[in-house]
Amino acid sequence: MTQDMIVAKNLTKKYEDFIAVDGINFTVKRGEAFGLLGPNGAGKSTTMRMIASTSQRTDGELQILGKDPNTSGPEIRAHLGVVPQQDNLDFELKVWENLYIYGRYFGLARKFVKTKIEELLAFAQLEDKRNVKTDALSGGMKRRLTIARALVNEPEILMLDEPTTGLDPQARHVLWDRLFRLKEQGVTLVITTHYMDEAEQLCDRLIVMDKGKIMAEGAPAQLIKDYSSREVLEVRFGSSRNAEAAEKLAAVGDRIEVLPDRILIYSEDGDAVLKQIHELGLEPVTSLVRRSSLEDVFLRLTGRTLVD
């Protein structure tokens, strides 16, 4: 069996005048957790829908599990697990019924689905919610149910579009734990997110997207190494004084980014830079030294922050 689960070449999607995905190339290998990182409107969800073999590409080539989704859509979809951005569960049905009907859509035998439901409820930590009307679940529970549902057909690729958007921090961590377990079991994951911490936690490799194009590709740590320094010093002088202070800081550190509310100074040693700033006679209101993240990579590549 092929080890390349997804191969995209010059993949393009146009809506009338608007180019949502602009000729991107990438490959996802078996067992890999692959991320699409970018702000809203970067083309991540459109790319996901093309991989999910529901939305047809305008141009380029796409192979999923060795097949072309334009001609083998249903065959490919039978082996995918799709978690859309919005939980499209049936809220009138009970929790177990949502898993049941989805298993039945795939034509799985009733008896098999009933056994599978137990496994999935345990995985999603929803065993005691089995007979609850889906509408009554919390946001995090609905999300976990949607993920459990996507696993009913034992998919070869699990696709998650913004899996934790709108969830509180605790619910996010529970979800990450579940996804991490799948990854350990060797499930191929494709994840879109605009959260850099999520991408760093879950993805082996990712593409950074903006305006339908790929800006960079690689492992999170490698991208940080390639596009940013080891550390970042964040200083605030108050919004009225930021610009003035930035002029004086031009010579400090490797590189500097001036944001409306703060100044980022990239350097291998953040504390040393802070010391230099004090020596220049500048007194920032607040200062923080941290490790570089994907957020910094994105800022470097696009000049914009991920979450506006």
Partner: protein, 280 residues
């Protein structure tokens, strides 16, 4: 490949493609029936309550007036309730069936986007359309059956006329439900769509279709509303089949052709629009 990964990646054998593609519509119908079961109380209440109230007020009230006023020559040579029954059944069949195509289509595309979750499995737009129609047809037969029970209790129909009346009303219900399915598949937002359909399509269809009196009584321009209305085609056919109301052979053919064309065109349009909308 490790053993744990087999648990999650054995899909190649798990989904039987041939079975999944052949019976796709039935899996959708199975879901629709499960969803419907959540509203079973309402389905029963409307299914029985509507005909009981209607027959008590219009059927018996106006019926006795008409029967008396006809001086021993009742409508079409039969009692008013017998005359009315095919029209009532046609309307009930249409209403019951279209409830199961319009609301689910709005639900599927707009409210909870369930069609998109169906379409992320191997199910195609065509399978979804057919599945919805199967469930609507089942609801239609069920609604007609409940109505007939009430009609039987009121003595408006005889057991012998049940097969003919079931046939004439169910084909109307199914073809019009298909038309409404096609229409609803174009609706992007529910801003007054259902109100417009109810007031400007369903109500006139019922009023000008020879429901309460023979269509021929109306002036020709108004009769035309009846000619395009499924209620009239069904009612006329039902009267012909159940108690021998005279209808020319060519007109019987027209009635059947009307429903066949309506159904085929509607299914074609709906399938095309579903596939297009799901692939956007």
């Amino acid at each position: 490949m490790s053993e744990t990964s087999v648990t999650w990646q054995g899909a190649t054998k798990l989904v039987n493609m041939r079975k999944a593609l052949t019976f796709g519509a039935w899996f959708v119908a199975e879901y629709r029936l499960r969803n419907m079961s959540k509203w079973l109380g309402a389905i029963f209440a409307f299914g029985l309550g509507n005909p009981i109230l209607f027959l008590l007020s219009v059927g018996i009230g106006i019926g006795s007036l008409v029967d008396k006023g006809s001086g021993g020559h009742p409508m079409d040579g039969v009692g008013y309730l017998v005359f009315l029954a095919p029209a009532l059944l046609a309307t009930a069949a249409i209403q019951g069936a279209m409830d199961e195509t319009t609301f689910p289509t709005m639900q599927g595309f707009v409210w909870d986007k369930s069609f998109f979750s169906m379409n992320s499995t191997q199910l195609t737009g065509g399978a979804i359309v057919r599945g919805i129609m199967i469930a609507a047809a089942i609801r239609c037969v069920f609604t007609v059956f409940m109505y007939e029970i009430v009609l039987l209790a009121f003595g408006a129909v005889t057991w012998a006329s049940i097969p003919a009346l079931s046939w004439s009303s169910t084909i109307a219900g199914i073809s019009f439900a298909a038309a409404m399915l096609a229409a609803t598949s174009f609706v992007k937002q529910d801003d007054g769509f259902f109100a417009i359909v109810g007031r400007f399509i369903i109500a006139p269809m019922f009023m000008f279709s020879g429901t309460y009196y023979p269509l021929e009584i109306l002036p020709t321009p108004l009769q035309a509303i009846g000619w395009i209305s499924p209620v009239w085609h069904s009612t006329n056919l039902g009267r012909h089949l159940s108690y021998g109301h005279p209808v020319a052979d060519w007109l019987v053919v027209v009635h059947y052709a009307y429903f066949l064309v309506l159904f085929v065109v509607a299914m074609y349009v709906a399938t095309r629009q579903f596939e297009k909308r799901l692939a956007a």
